[in-house]
């Protein structure tokens, strides 16, 4: 490939990412005061306090779960440890909005659990209300803890057992060594995991709408599609971006601190749990897995089986076709764009292009609802301009839009949102191709496009595949972008889940959700296999 062409492509990809963020931010600089007043009076007080409580609660609970599970499976030996070691990341395949509606269906007043209790033990037995702030926090934590678990387990695996032993020889008991050494030592990884959890929590739309819990994302949706005020949506989005930037800065700081920890080369053996502690560990791990994955999955299967014959009609092939089409095209786009970025960073190994690569992948931190607003506004403006231009110049009639109402906006927003997972997996693959291998090929007369086709692409095959798979599944699960920017009536499985859950028809939402979860298991299995090696 011609080098300068590669460069221009990369610059363009970066600009596409920065465009929606810039557009949304401009609403901070040029606010419309009437809208501001309305938002401050009726919307912001509630969503700010909701968001704060939600972030705090989800952060603390998912950190506690992730750390405890990682400490157990990384540094201790107990029954079924090897199974839990990978099984505890399975909840990653279960979108939070699925866990949310399943739990409400199961544990709400009219659900089977409470009905069973009333039937057998009479009325008046108190049951914790599932539709509550603690309920939202529980659901979010159960589906997001694996991010903390994964990072934290790496930290504990590489140095936890050894550091604990060093502490024991200096006079600490195992317990004290955990609190005074292993935990502070793992702090950069813990914080890194918690920040990902917080970003996902901020971005979540589906769970919040199932619970009717108003946060920024649901407020943006309601402003746009309820009040038809795009600028109110954009102004809410601009506030959300500020919170996101705060998280990004924190993430950068703690990611930097990790490099001070050199992983220890020799692992100490795991500490074998005996007697009662052994069974407590088993019970703890099993119950988390049960509530975060097994129970929701079984309930989905049960509901799907119940409604399948009457609900699986001619619309479903279309949902599936739309879903697969959207996910494949977005995976293809991301892989191509990410490959461009990764190759540029490799060809020009300097500070600026490294920074550009990071900027171009920022979308992972920006909630989908923000991106939807941020891309829709400029594209719609460009569209209007083009229509007017063509109408005036050529006297065209009958065209009201070129780009609105097509997949264009949606694909652009999805590409920005999921650039990071694609880029990271391709970049890791590229790093495995050494400079010497490249030079050896150059020495044999290969260059440019030839080099890419005969050396890089074959060696990157698995990385490209896993990048595509990750983006495919992420797109499938994605809700706000698809919901807000899809052409009218262009429904996917995720949109179907949203529509059924907003009518409270949990059993009919289960069928599309089951499809999403089953496909979502693929990258999780891939990840767990990768972790085992």
């Amino acid at each position: 490939m011609h080098l300068s062409r590669l460069l221009i492509l990369s610059l363009l990809i970066g600009l596409i990412t920065l465009l929606p963020i810039g557009v949304v931010m401009s609403y901070l600089i040029y606010p419309e005061s009437a809208i501001w007043q309305h938002l401050w009076a009726y919307v912001l007080p509630e969503i700010i306090s909701n968001t704060a409580i939600l972030l705090l609660g989800t952060g603390v609970v998912s950190a506690a779960l992730g750390i405890a599970l990682a400490w157990l499976t990384a540094c201790h030996e107990f029954p079924l440890r090897r199974f839990f070691n990978w099984a505890l990341i399975l909840p990653l395949a279960m979108p939070a909005y699925v866990t949310a509606f399943v739990d409400i269906g199961l544990f709400d007043f009219t659900g089977p659990v409470q009905t069973f209790i009333r039937h057998h033990f009479g009325e008046g037995i108190w049951f914790p209300p599932i539709r509550s702030t603690p309920g939202v926090i529980m659901v979010m934590s159960l589906s997001l803890y694996p991010y903390v678990y994964l990072l934290c387990r790496n930290a504990f695996l590489s140095q936890g057992a050894r550091i604990t032993e060093a502490g024991q020889l200096l006079g600490l008991t195992r317990n004290k060594a955990f609190w005074r050494l292993a935990l502070p030592m793992a702090r950069p990884w813990i914080v890194g995991g918690v920040i990902v959890v917080l970003m996902e929590t901020l971005a979540d739309f589906g769970t919040m709408s199932v619970f009717n819990f108003d946060t920024f994302t649901t407020a943006i949706y309601k402003s746009w599609f309820g009040l038809f005020s795009l600028s109110a949506a954009a102004q809410l989005a601009s506030l959300l971006v500020i919170v996101v930037f705060g998280l990004l800065i924190a993430e950068q700081y703690f990611a930097g601190r990790k490099r001070y920890h050199t992983p220890l080369k020799n692992m100490s053996p795991r500490f074998t749990l005996h007697g009662r502690t052994k069974w407590l560990a088993l019970i703890f791990c099993s119950s988390i897995l049960l509530f975060a994955f097994i129970l929701p999955l079984l309930q989905l299967i049960y509901w799907s089986a119940q409604v399948f014959t009457q609900d699986f009609d001619e619309r479903y092939p279309q949902f599936i076709w739309h879903t697969v089409l959207l996910a494949s095209v977005s995976a293809g786009l991301v892989v191509a764009a990410a490959l461009c970025l990764a190759l540029t960073a490799r060809t020009y190994p300097n500070r600026w292009f490294k920074a550009w690569g990071r900027l171009a992948t920022l979308g992972y931190a920006v909630p989908g609802s923000v991106l939807a607003v941020g891309i829709f506004i400029p594209v719609a403006a460009a569209d209007t301009y083009l229509i007017n231009f063509f109408n005036a110049q050529f006297g065209w009639q009958g065209h009201s839009s070129f780009l609105r109402g097509t997949l264009f906006i949606m694909l652009l927003a999805l590409m920005v949102r999921f650039m990071a997972p694609g880029f990271n997996s391709i970049e890791t693959g590229l790093q495995r191709i050494t400079k010497n291998q490249e030079d050896a090929a150059k020495g044999m007369g290969l260059f440019g496009w030839q080099l890419l086709r005969r050396i890089h692409l074959p060696l990157l095959k698995t990385s490209l595949f896993s990048a595509a798979l990750l983006v495919f599944v992420d797109t499938m699960k994605e809700m706000p972008i698809t919901l807000m920017t899809r052409p009218f009536g262009w429904d996917t499985l995720a949109v179907r889940v949203f529509e059924m859950t907003s009518e409270g028809q949990w059993d009919r939402a289960a069928l599309p959700a089951l499809g999403i979860v089953l496909v979502g298991l693929l990258p999780v299995f891939l990840l767990s296999r990768h972790q085992e090696n």
């Binding site: 060093a166 024991q168 020889l169 100490s268």
Partner: protein, 350 residues
Amino acid sequence: MSNHLQVAQASHFYQQKSTFQNLSFSLETGKIACLLGSSGCGKTTILRCIAGFEPIQSGQILIADQLLSSPAKVVPPHLRQIGMVFQDYALFPHLSVGKNIAFGLHQLAATARQKIVDEMLELVRLKGSSDVYPHELSGGQQQRVALARALAIRPQLLLLDEPFSNLDVELRERLSIEVRDILKARNMTAILVTHDQHEAFAIADEVGVMNEGRIVQWDSPYSLYHEPANRFVADFIGEGTFLPGTVVSHNQIRIELGIVPSRMNPDCCVGCTVQVLIRPDDIIHNDQSPVQARVTQRAFRGAEFLYTLELDSGAKILSLVPSHHNHQIGEKIGIQLEIDHVIAFKKSST
């Protein structure tokens, strides 16, 4: 002096597989011992048993006549007051050097603690590095911090698990002498584990050579080299070759290079065929010597050549020759045996 550390008939199993069996050795106060063996011979597990991380399935481990480990009882590591320098140092990355060293002194008052930290930093020549973080130090400096941290608690015994293996060769030799001086200055009893015999010889008073979970010889470095107790030790320690010989009297053996004196060996009857160990420093180059050997290989080592020589019978021997004697491959040179007495093993004992 009494025995400070005693390991008596200790055995350890891991998942029904024996790591070491019926291991016994003892160590006097202030002595430095080394367990020497190839990887996987169970030497690190011995340290872990002494530290209290692993139980033993039979036997006893005692320090200062106090029982620490037996099949019935294991004193937990944090009550043993044993210091350990890990192979990868296991420094606490989130604490400064000073806080790493002070970590085991939490029961002391702040001023007393600071005094020991200063003393330790001085001891390992890292004065002024108290506020530095481990990642800012070189490998050798990190190793010295690990040593200071282990010594700060005034341990009854110091364990060192391959402490120099992460350092480059030059540094390894210098640091092993330094560490020996530090330990000797504090009269510290210590056990080192390594697979590198040069390291073992540089630092240890006594060396236990291990093979497949057993100590095959426990001796001073000098004796291990010059009087190996068996064929394994003779092969493992130093360089050398074996020449066939015949026992001619209770203290003489005939080999191709003549009759040589030997220690009496009850196994070897007169007339027996034996294998005689010839070290490279036993063969002296002498142009006047009537005995000639052909050079088949040569390795230049700077100050000397290590020649591989072929005798008339085809047997090979090694010879260390000062490097101004530059001979080519294929050349015949005069050699002479210079040896007080030889070590011989019966042919069957491999």
